[in-house]
């Protein structure tokens, strides 16, 4: 008993220092006030939370959830076939493909995002090309739209979805597909009844990663969305750095953290089958 406690203490220490303590500070600050210069005033107030229910912030809140959900969905739809293709390729090809998936991480994220600006702006590569070949007469408005933000998010977070799905496909016992075929299932039905349920955990992991990351990402919105598309994370960033309103920023952070947790929980419940729950009950 003593030994196990001792073993677990570094983890507890780590979590307390780097997760629980910062979260606690944010929660505390969210109930404080501030003076005209942005200094924290020690008092208890719910004003910061009350301010959130302004229609402006509520609108941004829903936009943020919608964009994060949409990004997650698109990522699943693109990543699943990609991961499936990679998992079923030969060993050498698998390595090359996984390398391609991870190469973007080697390049600075800001530079990659600015590259999209070069592609999407009015005089950018895409517009010039389309005009040169005569499909359009005047440049399409692509940059600084919600579409551009969505594109940037999907582009940024696709690897987070591909890798977990790939792993779950890799881990699946291929004999199950032979068994399905032996029992009369076509390839499509074997995929639907066996592969898909067997790789749900990979999709779940990927979805949580993509959803949380998208909801917290403000750089892509800043660079590709311009002033018109704002996400909750942009507001939070502004409150902390620009407006020097830490308590309000903290309140928004707390609200979104709770929202994320609730959404992830619901998502897990919806996707998890009775089988997985029975497994947990046993362990």
């Amino acid at each position: 008993m003593k030994k196990t406690k001792w073993l677990i203490s570094p983890v507890v220490l780590w979590l307390s220092l780097f997760l629980i303590l910062p979260m606690a500070i944010v929660v505390v600050i969210s109930f404080l006030g501030r003076d005209e210069f942005g200094n924290l005033v020690i008092q208890f107030s719910l004003d910061n939370y009350a301010r959130f229910f302004d229609s402006l912030y509520l609108g941004i809140y829903w936009d943020t959830i919608a964009l994060s959900v949409l990004t997650t969905l698109i990522c699943v739809l693109i990543s699943y076939p990609l991961a499936y293709y990679i998992a079923n390729a030969g060993p050498t090809r698998q390595k090359i493909w996984l390398l391609f998936i991870t190469v973007p991480f080697w390049i600075n994220f800001l530079i990659r995002t600015y590259a999209w600006v070069l592609l999407l702006r009015s005089q950018g590569v895409v517009n010039s090309f389309l005009m040169d070949i005569g499909i359009i007469d005047e440049p399409l408005k692509m940059l600084y739209t919600k579409g551009a933000v969505l594109l940037g998010m999907v582009y940024t977070f696709i690897p987070y979805m591909v890798l977990p799905i790939y792993v779950s496909l890799e881990q699946m016992d291929r004999k199950l597909l032979e068994a399905a075929s032996d029992l009369g299932a076509s390839r499509w039905r074997a995929f639907w009844h066996i592969t898909l349920p067997q790789t749900k955990s990979g999709m779940m992991t990927g979805s949580v990663l993509v959803f949380v990351s998208t909801a917290g990402m403000y750089v892509v919105t800043d660079i590709l969305g311009g002033s018109k598309s704002t996400m909750l994370s942009n507001i939070i960033q502004t409150q902390f750095l620009g407006a020097r309103d830490w308590p309000f920023g903290a309140a928004l952070s707390v609200i979104f953290a709770i929202t994320s947790l609730v959404l992830i929980y619901l998502f897990n419940m919806a996707l998890r089958s009775r089988h997985e729950r029975s497994k947990e009950g046993r362990a």
Partner: protein
């Protein structure tokens, strides 16, 4: 009437021949076992019958129809996998239902067939469990129930008892044989366990290095092995070499005789005496041949044998089984 016919089939993997040209006919309702050491090609033959592998050369007929080109999901037979390959996210019932659902059998009959398969395999109390909640032997039963619910013409079994401990194996062997009799369907069984093959099969196909060594009933194979491999792979055997021929004699057909009393065919020294309850065995080193033979003595043998004793080894000419190489 043949249920399965393999005609001159051959299988190559990456330039290597894993199954040499062979033909085999399996009768309706027969329990046929493919027996051999690992890598002898027995599983490959089973997988070709199931439709997971294509023979490089030759044809496969199922109930008179050429199924060589037919994919696995269109063949009217089922395979019980070595490690069961149960669907982990489905209950016992759902696993059994899967094949029926794929064949679009109507709901009422599905229910009936599931109930029957569960009853035959004694899984009734476990119907709602998931595979990970079952023991190895129970999972094995589910695999069989899942296969027989489809009422296949042929059931293929790939070392279905390989992962189980000895006692459970013995019980399931008897159960499987019983099941095969009551269902009356053709069983093609793959194993490397010769005792298992002897106990269950109508006929045994002994395989080695991708070739058939011998086909026969357990009795034929035991009493009249045709090759050295067949003679030594099944049961204990003593192999004798003489100028132009080789022959085998089972330990129970050899007789130990006191050296000076009688004229025996061979002479030797007792190296060891092994008691096995109902029989005991003498291990005798032969003087002229650098081999040791084993002789079974039954419980009626009253002689006092001693290690180091010089004895004669004798047998009846009729018990010599000539074997080729």
């Amino acid at each position: 009437m043949p249920m399965i016919q393999l005609t001159n089939i051959e299988k190559h993997f990456a330039g290597q021949t894993v199954v040499h040209p062979l033909s085999l006919t399996i009768g309706e309702g027969e329990f046929l076992t493919l027996l051999g050491p690992s890598g002898c090609g027995k599983t490959t033959i089973l997988r070709m019958i199931a439709g997971f592998e294509q023979p490089t050369v030759g044809e496969i007929f199922l109930d008179g129809k050429d199924v060589t080109e037919l994919p696995a999901n269109k063949r009217d037979l089922n395979l019980v996998f070595q490690h069961y390959a149960l669907f982990p996210h489905m209950t016992v019932e759902q696993n059994i239902q899967f094949g029926l659902k794929m064949k679009k059998i109507d709901a009422a009959e599905q229910k009936e067939r599931i109930a029957e398969a569960i009853r035959l395999t004694q899984l009734t109390p476990l119907a709602k469990r998931y595979p990970h909640q079952l023991s190895g032997g129970q999972q094995q039963r589910v695999a069989i129930a899942r296969a027989i619910a489809n009422k296949p013409r042929v059931l293929l079994l790939d070392e279905p008892l390989g992962a189980l401990d000895l006692q459970l194996r013995k019980n399931l062997q008897a159960e499987l044989k019983q099941l095969q009799r009551s269902l009356g369907i053709t069983f093609v069984y793959v194993t490397h366990d010769q005792e298992e093959a002897m106990m269950m099969s109508d006929r045994i196909v002994i395989m080695n290095n991708g070739k058939i060594e011998q086909i026969g009933t357990p009795k034929e194979i035991y009493n009249r092995p045709q090759t050295l491999f067949a003679a030594t792979f099944i049961g204990e055997n003593n192999v004798f070499h003489e100028a132009e021929r080789m022959f085998a004699i089972r330990p129970e057909k050899l007789k130990a005789v006191r050296d000076r009393e009688q004229k025996a065919k061979r002479k030797g020294i007792i190296q060891d005496i092994v008691y096995l309850g109902n029989v005991h065995k003498l291990m005798v080193h032969l003087n002229d041949e650098q081999t040791t033979v084993s002789i079974c003595l039954d419980f009626t043998d009253e002689d006092e044998w001693q290690i180091g004793q010089h004895i004669g080894v004798d047998w009846l000419d009729a018990d010599e089984v000539n074997i080729g190489l």
